[in-house]
């Protein structure tokens, strides 16, 4: 799961030195399309519907946060 998410991010962000805990939004990089594409990518890739109350910064703040969010929704383990 983590690898697929990192691949998606690499297309959109400068991920060269990105660790799994780094803050994706730290530099104010939150364009609407990226945020929406991230949500849509996760929903399609992991066959899950991300409800409105889960859509917030903290749940997508880092690679690890995203993995945790998706895992909680799918009931799967983080790997």
């Amino acid at each position: 799961m983590k690898e697929k998410i990192r691949q998606f991010l690499a297309k959109n962000k400068n991920t060269e030195n990105l660790t799994d805990d780094d803050d994706l939004f730290e530099k104010g990089f939150v364009n609407s399309l990226f945020a929406l594409q991230l949500i849509l990518f996760l929903e399609k890739e992991f066959r899950v519907r991300i409800p409105n109350d889960v859509i917030k910064e903290d749940n997508f703040r880092s690679v690890n946060a995203i993995v945790g969010t998706v895992a909680a929704l799918t009931g799967s383990s983080a790997d």
Binding site: N12, N31, A35, I55, K56
Partner: protein, 346 residues
């Protein structure tokens, strides 16, 4: 109803349409009487123009340059292939539906080919060129300042897209390379047509979809209880024009965002978030809690995500109608890749 769509692009043939005579036959070419004025007027109305002509490209283009008309035509297709294909390519390059295209040619066979393959394109006999300006579909409801600059904006946009396609880094790095500048200002009388256009035409990047009559919009400019803002974007390729709109209602104890609209042309630029940061900073400066109305539609989820990723939380929900609140006292910083003026809210 489809027939009523306004024309956004006119594609011209050259020989015996734009000018009298046939280039390849060695005729002395003369522009048709009044054609220059027609081209200039369509341009002023914000209608884009292009060329589909069967000729040798370099010679025909040199003629257009000699007439001083080349700058009016975006992505001209001058070659010996099908004109229907040419029109399709022009539509793709401009990202416009072909049901907003018109094609002018003196030859019935060329119009027939286009009719057959692209029935949604309006075909016009060059013999009737003097009537073009008075056709209802050639008359936009409003001609805004931005409409008159549409050709330049499309040309910039095509260059931008080409640069993005060639760019090898991430989309974040591409944004950093654009050198974007966002100017936020109070709506003025001169903006009202554009403001109305944004409220009527934007569906994806529109938080509420509320519409107002022209008179209501004008009243909002002067209202003590409202803050009405436009955002104008430019980058190293040129101007995008006025692409953002926000309406805040000011009460004794709070700000409520009634409208937040961004042109879909800037959806990948982070402008929605930037405009929101501006509003957040203002509300914190003024010590007033910030709320935002949101009306859920099939198409505006990106806007919901924008709010939520900016620290807004749902306060109440009544069917499709949501009240969001900025649930933090963090004064957010503007993204590093965009220069905002004024830096501090007025």
């Amino acid at each position: 109803m489809e027939d009523e769509k306004k024309i956004k692009c006119v594609v011209w043939d050259l020989d015996d349409t734009l000018w009298e005579g046939t280039l390849l036959a060695g005729d002395a070419l003369v522009l048709k009487e009044g054609i220059r004025e027609i081209i200039q007027e369509l341009d002023r109305r914000g209608i884009l123009q292009s060329v589909a002509s069967k000729n040798n490209h370099d010679e025909a283009f040199a003629e257009l340059q000699a007439f001083g008309l080349d700058e009016y035509f975006l992505c001209p297709r001058i070659h010996w292939g099908s004109k229907a294909n040419s029109i399709r390519e022009i539509g793709d390059a401009m990202n416009l539906g072909l049901d907003t295209f018109a094609f002018v040619d003196d030859r019935a066979s060329e119009r027939g080919e286009v009719n057959f393959h692209l029935p949604e394109v309006l075909t016009l006999d060059a013999a009737g060129y003097r009537e073009i300006l008075s056709l209802k579909r050639m008359n936009p409801v409003f001609v805004t300042e931005d409409a008159a600059r549409r050709r330049a904006m499309y040309r910039d946009e095509m260059e931008r897209n080409a640069a993005e396609a060639e760019f090898s880094g991430s989309s974040e790095a591409f944004l950093q390379s654009l050198g974007m500048r966002l100017r936020i200002a109070a709506v003025t009388e001169a903006d009202l047509r554009r403001v109305e256009e944004l409220t009527l035409r934007t569906s994806q990047m529109n938080a509420t979809g509320y519409t107002y009559s022209f008179e209501e919009l004008r009243a909002l400019i002067h209202s003590e209880d409202h803050i009405f803002l436009t955002a104008e974007l430019s980058d190293r390729f040129g101007d995008y024009g006025k692409i953002g709109l926000a309406l805040l209602e000011r009460t004794a104890d709070r700000y409520v965002i009634k409208l937040l609209i961004l042109s879909c042309r800037v959806m990948t630029r982070g402008i929605g978030s930037t405009l929101l940061i501006h509003i957040i900073r203002r509300s914190l400066n003024d010590g007033k809690p910030l709320f935002a109305e949101f009306l859920e539609t099939e198409r505006n989820r990106a806007m919901y995500v924008t709010y939520k990723f900016m620290g807004f939380e749902e306060k109440t929900k009544d069917g499709k109608k949501i009240l969001l609140a900025y649930a933090s006292d963090i004064k957010r910083e503007y993204p590093a890749y965009i220069q905002v003026s004024p830096a501090e809210p007025l």
